[in-house]
């Protein structure tokens, strides 16, 4: 197991390397550049050249790339061109919000999706089954940002059950250590701060969870249906095991493999969906920062962002592969 994880982590290196080269060339090929963002349309050719020189953008691309890699090895992503602050600092401040939102959405999607998919399969053809199949078809067809607006309009603005915007109420004076607001609240034992942060996560979390939830329900249902038809389930029932044991040991366990795979693949979708949701709820995560970085062609920020996304994506999928062997002892990771 340990060797498997180490090998997979090592395999990540060439993929990241290739990705970074492609991106580096692609981003630097784009017209415009940070000097346009800094000077606007007014800059003279001389002042533009001066800025490019001060940022080291006049050097040959391979040279710039070499510098990028050298810093990357030291976990230094450089300095943001527009905010003049360390990219790592910026990310540490903003990424936790997005990660919290993504985790919240995942918890909702898995926590509701797997039981619902399971029940739908067990009571095939029932009202519950039809409702969850129909609901999951519909769920993939509703644009996230529209759902976010509808939820916000109904539950936050009209009913006032949830806060409309932000990550935490301004009146709460919370101490922030990690910038994961929920975690901070728990660490500092400021329970009301943690609860308030969770409260702010619920509506955006539901909006973001809609598509993954629909997919998880559908896959769980199909997978459980397939397992229920297997001989070993009939055998287990025939030898007199209680329904609980059959359900836990035989059905659910065998049905979880495809579900785990889909969860791994959904991470990428969730992270880009988070940007849309953050916009609607004015949630201070990475979304707005990345949108600005894109329009200003803030190279260090963009490169760093994609590298981090790629690493997260790879790590989540590694976790999924490791979980296979926990779910199914026959799967040996090598």
């Amino acid at each position: 197991m340990f060797r498997f994880i180490v090998r997979r982590l090592l395999q990540l290196v060439p993929t990241l390397f290739g990705l970074s080269i492609l991106l580096f060339i692609w981003l630097h090929r784009l017209p415009g550049g940070p000097e346009t963002a800094l000077l606007g349309e007014r800059g003279t050719p001389e002042s533009r050249a001066a800025i490019r020189e001060s940022l080291g953008l006049d050097e040959p691309l391979p040279f710039q790339y070499g510098r990028f890699v050298k810093r990357l090895i030291q976990l230094d992503l450089g300095t943001s061109i527009s905010t003049k602050r360390e990219v790592t600092t910026e990310f540490l401040q903003r990424f936790p919000g997005t990660v919290e939102l993504t985790i919240m959405a995942m918890v909702i999607a898995i926590g509701v999706g797997i039981p619902l998919g399971y029940l739908a399969a067990r009571r095939r053809g029932s009202l519950l089954d039809q409702a969850s199949v129909g609901g999951s078809l519909l769920g993939t067809c509703v644009p996230i940002f529209f759902l976010a607006y509808v939820l916000k309009a109904i539950f936050a603005e009209n009913l006032g059950w949830f806060p409309t915007i932000g990550r935490q109420d301004a009146s709460i004076e919370a101490t922030h250590i990690t910038n994961f607001f929920v975690l901070d609240g728990i660490l500092t034992r400021e329970w009301d701060a943690a609860a308030d942060a969770i409260w702010h996560l619920i509506l955006p979390g539901i909006a973001l969870a809609s598509i993954p939830l629909a997919i998880i329900v559908r896959i769980t249902r199909a997978s459980v249906l397939e397992v229920l038809g297997e001989d070993f389930v009939r055998t287990a029932e025939a030898k007199g095991l209680t329904e609980r044991t059959v359900r836990r040991r035989h059905v659910l366990r065998n049905a979880m493999l495809p579900v785990a795979t889909s969860i791994g693949l959904l991470t990428g979708l969730l992270l880009s969906g988070a940007v849309l949701t953050e916009t609607v709820f004015a949630f201070s995560g990475i979304g707005a920062f990345i949108r600005d970085a894109i329009s200003n062609l803030d190279y260090p920020v963009l490169m760093g962002f994609i590298m981090i996304i790629a690493v997260i994506f790879a790590l989540v999928n590694l976790l999924v592969d490791v979980s296979y062997s926990l779910i199914d002892p026959r799967v040996r990771v090598r």
């Binding site: 078809l137 067809c141 996230i144 607006y149 880009s272 963009l302 994609i306």
Partner: protein, 324 residues
């Protein structure tokens, strides 16, 4: 297997492989014909098909019959629409869905927007399909038939596809927008390119599964060249999941396009109505006239649902596990 009856006949040996791949399309037992038969009996497929027929009809014919021009700001000219003061009249006998925030007829814009949405969905799916089928087909052919070099080529191609998979669609869209300026073409390219990995992986997987079938062995033992086997034998037999995926991708493409328009990457000029842009434009007026957001959103949802229903039903109909 449906191929079985053809094999018993005394046919010329060197055409055996072609026959097993092509000939069963001409007889009643073909995969596609059986799938059609099962599709017709599936209520979800009927509903999906009806939605799509209506949508295509509206998109193709509708714009010729709309009551008003889509750029005519009659509401402001006549002084009935004052968006700044929060006055946007709702549905009436003359304007079935009321005015939009610039005093244009909402119903006309919705109908013309259907055409734009259909075009954008189809073009972006075609972009993804073309590149994906090319990459996946090459990788699948290389992996299935090519020996050591083939496996190496397959490996390189699939690593490229993996990298594309980890690129957030948003970033791709914005970098295309930086290159071409925000326009509907930008959005189509971005949405299309994002769907490339799915098509490539599906086709590759399906081709590798086909590479071990008897008819491939038959063809190759008859001395048919590897490239010919891949193109005229394996590829046609591997396309079913790709076609199903294309139907489902049409649904996601329409939604993705709306999302990118919403973020301001689409056509900045609202003269050509597009549902995503209409939805985005309606945001400031949600409190006054929520309908302006609801109409295009319902349009998007129903259309996406039509493609999804039909796609899922096709997947079921073509699934060999469910065939009787």
């Amino acid at each position: 297997m449906t191929l079985a009856p053809g094999r018993g006949k005394k046919v010329k040996l060197d055409r055996l492989a072609e026959l097993s791949a092509v000939r069963d399309d001409e007889r009643g037992v073909s995969l596609w014909r059986e799938a059609m038969r099962r599709l017709r009996r599936n209520p979800a497929a009927i509903v999906g098909a009806v939605i799509l027929v209506l949508f295509v009809l509206v998109a193709v014919v509708g714009p010729f019959f709309v009551p008003y021009g889509t750029t005519d700001t009659m509401g402001i000219r006549e002084g009935v629409v004052k968006s700044g003061q929060g006055i946007i009249p709702g549905p009436s006998a003359d304007h079935w869905l009321g005015y939009d925030h610039q005093g244009r007829d909402e119903f006309s814009r919705l109908v013309v927007g259907a055409r734009q949405t259909l075009i954008v969905g189809i073009v972006s799916t075609l972009i993804g399909l073309t590149i994906g089928v090319f990459l996946g087909g090459l990788a699948g052919a290389a992996a299935g038939l090519g020996g050591r070099w083939g496996r190496a080529l397959d490996n390189v191609l699939m690593r490229i596809v993996d990298m594309m998979l980890s690129l957030p669609s948003l970033l791709l869209a914005v970098s295309v927008a930086a290159l071409l300026g925000p326009s509907i073409v930008t959005v189509m390219i971005a949405v299309g390119v994002v769907s490339v990995p799915i098509f490539a992986r599906l086709l590759r997987g399906s081709m590798i599964a086909q590479a071990n079938r008897d008819y491939v062995l038959a063809a190759s033992s008859l001395g048919v060249r590897g490239s010919k086997i891949a193109i005229s034998h394996i590829l046609p037999n591997s396309l079913a999941p790709v076609i199903v995926q294309a139907t489902l991708t049409l649904a996601t493409a329409i939604i993705e396009v709306a999302a990118l328009s919403f973020l301001g990457l689409g056509n900045p000029d609202s003269a050509v109505p597009e549902w995503g842009l209409m939805l985005a434009d309606a945001q400031p007026y949600l409190g006054i006239r929520p309908g302006l957001a609801i109409y295009p959103a319902v349009g998007i949802i129903i259309t996406a649902l039509g493609f999804t229903l039909l796609g899922e039903a096709m997947r079921e109909a073509l699934d060999p596990k469910l065939r009787r």
